[in-house]
């Protein structure tokens, strides 16, 4: 299971990287952590002409808080984000999801940007980004673009990144006071991809839900934002009946894929259970935070 022949470039600046992308376009694969890309190469399922290794571009790594947002450089290692107090304090949903990504050795190399650019709909970070309306900053020879999460995930392993664009940063909004989060997932084993996952964030104001964000992993070819369920929840007091109805609305129109790990029907059933559990936990955490 050896990698096929491939050229290799290791730019040290974003400008260099973008020039290379402009030159190679779809024939290039950007190599960050490699935890998703290298297996594809080893299985000879991907055969890019060139690997553009961006690990040497120092400016792409780092976590900073800016104006109510947390900006995470694309090559920030998952374990660094996991240990970041800024992330823990300001983006608790991201902090909840990060430890569920694979195993520690994967997070030693895997990057926040890489996972989001790979866009596996069963992965944890795409669901978090979608739930929180994260913003994706891409740069190309023609300049910089900011893509909201709703527009970033286009299809299975497909984003709206153009072939001459490099994802340089992802921005997550800081959680408001009164917010509680929950990341739930059902996986076959500890550390596996979710069969179904839920990223949930609720903000309580005087006991009622003032903001609700739910995104489901594994139910579609992109992370699925449960807008109908969110609309139901906003303005209401938390209750078991409310959460049951939210679970129903979140999943009734879903048409999940079927594979070895679960049928379409199974995924829908489990997603509903996760919504119920996630909402309960988010409320509990919101109360804890107050």
């Amino acid at each position: 299971m050896k990698l096929p022949p491939v050229e290799y470039e290791a730019p040290t600046t974003v400008a260099e990287a973008i020039d290379l992308l402009a030159e190679y376009l779809d024939e290039a694969s950007v190599l960050a952590g490699g935890q998703s890309l290298i297996p594809l190469l080893a299985l000879r399922l991907a055969r890019p002409v060139v690997l553009i290794d961006i690990n040497g571009i120092d400016e792409l790594s780092g976590v900073s808080a800016v104006d109510g947002w947390v900006a995470i450089g694309a090559t920030t290692r998952e374990y660094v984000a996991e240990a970041s107090e800024t992330v823990a304090g300001a983006v608790p949903l991201l902090a909840a999801a990060l430890p569920l990504i694979g195993h520690e050795a994967i997070r030693s190399r895997g990057t926040v940007g890489g996972s989001l650019a790979h866009a596996d709909p069963a992965a944890e970070l795409p669901a978090v980004a979608r739930a929180l309306d994260a913003e994706f900053v891409v740069r190309s020879p023609s300049g910089e673009r900011v893509v909201p999460a709703a527009d970033w995930f286009e299809g299975y392993l497909t984003t709206s990144r153009r072939s001459d664009e490099l994802l340089v940063e992802v921005r997550f909004p800081a959680a408001r006071p009164g917010t509680g989060v929950s990341f739930q997932e059902v996986a076959r084993r500890h550390g596996d991809f979710a069969i179904v996952g839920l990223a949930a964030s609720l903000t309580l104001s005087e006991g009622a839900i003032s903001d609700a964000r739910l995104a489901l992993a594994g139910l579609s070819d992109v992370p699925l934002r449960a807008a109908a369920a969110e609309d139901l929840l906003v303005g209401e007091l938390p209750s078991a009946e409310l959460f049951d109805e939210a679970a129903r609305r979140a999943t009734e129109d879903a048409d999940p894929p079927a594979d070895l790990h679960g049928s379409s029907d199974y995924r829908k059933k489990v997603a509903a259970a996760l919504v119920r559990r996630g909402l309960r936990e988010a409320v509990h955490n919101a109360n804890e935070r107050q």
């Binding site: 490699g34 297996p39 290794d53 195993h103 050795a105 190399r109 084993r189 550390g191």
Partner: protein, 163 residues
């Protein structure tokens, strides 16, 4: 071909290789450090685990060129001169292994984990090792080895502090 220089088990090494060669293959083929094993070559089984710049890493998911300038430790480098370090000794004492194929990856992963979590309990150890697959043991003896190593270290730290 790309030229690289890196440190492996405390020694400076160089190589001239194709960019597509994984760190695992570089260690095994170019440096003759065959202790690091290939169990799946797609990053799931953990048999290829080594330590790079202090972190456990799957060497089948790293290109050798990405290790340029880095500090790599393999199973051969854990203890001086073919002896046994404390974790290895504890695992010997605990009958941790059978066929031995998963062993280097397990030992490296456990080494990295224990250095960050010296007080870990059984459940944490199991979770930490859940990315390393063993087909022979059912894991209990491996977990016992790690627990024993942790216990001995705490004991000796305690003794050290009593001085």
């Amino acid at each position: 071909m790309v030229d690289i220089t890196l440190r492996v088990n405390g020694a400076t090494c160089t190589g001239s290789l194709e960019a597509r060669k994984t760190l695992a293959d570089f260690l095994r083929d170019d440096l003759n450090l065959t202790g690091t094993h290939l169990g799946c070559e797609h990053g799931v089984c953990g048999a290829c685990t080594v330590i790079v710049d202090g972190r456990a890493v799957r060497s089948c998911l790293m290109l050798a060129v990405q290790a340029a300038g880095r500090e790599v430790t393999t199973i051969e480098g854990l203890a001086p001169d073919g002896g046994l370090g404390p974790l290895q000794q504890a695992m010997w004492d605990s009958h941790s292994f059978q066929c031995g194929f998963c062993t280097p990856g397990m030992v490296m992963q456990a080494t990295a984990f224990l250095s960050d979590h010296p007080d870990a309990g059984e459940q944490q150890i199991r979770e930490a090792l859940s990315g390393n697959i063993c087909r022979c043991t059912g894991y209990q003896s491996i977990v016992d080895g790690v627990l024993l190593a942790a216990e001995r270290k705490q004991g000796s730290d305690h003794d050290g502090n009593r001085g």
